[in-house]
């Protein structure tokens, strides 16, 4: 799956800091990954692991003045996004890269009609007149299976259910057929029955459009079905990355293993207990000197508490882990 040519998006050594009352928090610390054309990369981690912040920094939409992109390079279609002016960045947002956010209830503007919001990127980036953009919005809404789209385009967000709003968000994100879609936990706020529909729709439409996707999630079930490759984040760093199959069938980092063990699987033996990961993620204001997972890790040695492991290849493929231990012998 990994493309041989230059990837669509290359993130290198990205660091994001937040200035808070409790000091400077390294929310994202030296994160690197690539996304190829048409590929879906899942970034997995628990809340506070820095996965959303990573995604937002690609769009350079980290909440300022508290958040600050402290270093690293983000190359998209051969251009260094960090070096662009704000105006050049605006040209890219919503056109080449678009965003689907977590909360469909709060990410649509309550005072503007759905049609206007869905058609807005076309008006902004394609110079399409408002009346044409509104007509195009109706087509987009019917593509995300909103019934009676012509009438529903005139409705306001409060008249839509959560699932319908997320459909509208997807229609909006796809309006300009972006090369990259960032989906930040697109189904977390939805009913379980609706989650699958939305993900299927997202997968189908991104495939049709040939768009790549960064899927941010904490749901490993979603990862297995919808991602080509996976990066697992913990406390602001990537601790393991590989193809979805590698991560799912052959996890090499104790944290990834812990995540797997804490999720029920259909092929598990009956009445098998779920194993939670003991302890809490580290306080970003007081990070341990060595591996940040060491305090919770049952394989941790003195070396883990002293030195920080870097991401290194596990095999000759793309599977990489940041861990000193060889966990395979304990399985």
């Amino acid at each position: 799956m990994a493309s041989v040519a230059a990837p669509l998006l290359a993130v290198e050594d990205l660091s994001v800091r937040f200035h808070t009352d409790r000091g400077i928090l390294p929310a994202v610390d030296g994160v690197s990954f690539d996304v190829g054309e048409g590929e879906t990369l899942a970034i997995v981690g628990e809340s506070g692991s820095g996965k959303s912040v990573t995604a937002m920094s690609i769009l350079r939409l980290v909440q300022r003045p508290a958040g600050e992109i402290a270093g690293g390079r983000v190359t998209f279609e051969g251009r260094d996004l960090m070096a662009l002016s704000e105006q050049q960045m605006q040209e890219i947002r919503g056109d080449r890269i678009s965003l689907i956010s977590q909360e469909p209830m709060s990410s649509l503007n309550p005072a503007l009609s759905i049609g206007l919001q869905v058609g807005e990127p076309l008006n902004r980036h394609r110079g399409v007149s408002w009346s044409a953009a509104l007509r195009e919005a109706e087509t987009l809404l019917s593509r995300v299976h909103i019934p009676d789209a012509a009438n529903r385009a005139r409705a306001y967000p409060h008249e839509f259910s959560g699932g319908m709003r997320q459909r509208a968000m997807i229609a909006m994100a796809l309006a300009c057929t972006p090369r990259l879609i960032i989906a930040d936990e697109p189904t977390t706020a939805l009913d379980v029955t609706v989650q699958a529909q939305i993900l299927e729709l997202l997968k189908q439409l991104t495939r049709e459009a040939g768009s790549a996707m960064i899927l941010i999630t904490h749901d490993l079930g979603v990862v297995a079905r919808y991602a080509d490759r996976v990066s697992v984040m913990y406390a602001g760093r990537i601790v393991e990355s590989g193809t979805a199959l590698e991560i799912y069938e052959d996890p090499r980092h104790p944290y990834t293993m812990g995540l797997m063990a804490s999720v029920p699987r259909l092929d598990d033996a009956e009445r098998q207990r779920l194993v939670p990961i003991e302890g809490q993620p580290p306080d970003l204001a007081a990070m341990p000197p060595g591996c940040s997972f060491a305090p919770r890790c049952r394989f941790a040695t003195d070396r883990c508490r002293r030195d920080r492991p870097v991401l290194e290849p596990v095999n000759d493929g793309t599977h990489r882990k940041a861990c000193f231990a060889d966990v395979t012998q304990f399985r």
Partner: protein, 317 residues
Amino acid sequence: MQAFVIRRIAALVPTLFFASVIVFMVVRLIPGDVIDLMLSQDGGADKLDRGALERALGFDRPMVEQYLRWIGGVLFEGDFGLSLWRQTPVADMLAARLPVTLELSLLALAIALAIALPIGILSAIRQDTAADYIARSFSIFMLAVPGFWIATIIVVFPAIWWGWSPEVNFTPFREDPLANLKQLIIPALIMGTSLSAVTIRMMRTTMLEVLRQEYVRTAWAKGLSERVVVVRHVLKNALIPVVTVIGLQATLLIGGSVIMEQIFVIPGMGLLLIEAVFDRDYPIVTGVFLVTGVAIVLINFLVDLSYGLLDPKVRLE
């Protein structure tokens, strides 16, 4: 939207009725009777005179009858009664005074909005910059300093230092608009800046709140410029609470204009009211109160309507 407007209009009727009852009663509760005042001015008072005077002015009738006569006159003939002292129709006096107060109030409101909206918006989108600190300091200063104090300073000190004082011979707008505006601009500026203080703070607060909303991030993520994000996506949502404050403030304007009219000798309703209260000239006082009450009810009606325009949820309720 139509049904919304009709419902709101229907709700005005009982409000106006209660307002008129209260207005009518309150004046008659002011200690010191107009009859006593009149008799004391004429010299020696005796019982016979008093009864005759009461009958002549209609005060011997039951209160309900007095009210019905009065409100009937107002509603069906536009007749607010005669001034007890001057025997001239109150309606004529109101017609002469209302435009002046209205002009002063609208001028003050326009100044307040012209100051408050841009400064409030700027203060929010440039939070914690020098511009924001200056705007907030100005707002707190104007909140702390009462308008009548500034007005007094402006009347007194230039007169002492440079022998200049504001014009006191009022020129109506129709005769000489420029001279008229020159005269009203100082009190309007004082009222307007005082008024802008609260609105700036409100505008800034609600803007900051809306700027933090997720849908604003969505707007940024579409590649919209700051101007479009603020004008199209933030402002409409931020204005809803601000309009409420402006509505409340507009009713305060009417009270404020009483003071300003007194200080700057502007022949509006405020000045008329003060004289009439001292004279216990009931028909004038009730007339002024009623017109003011109607104005306040109408302002609130407009505020309600604006909710419907700004917030699609309200329209459907």
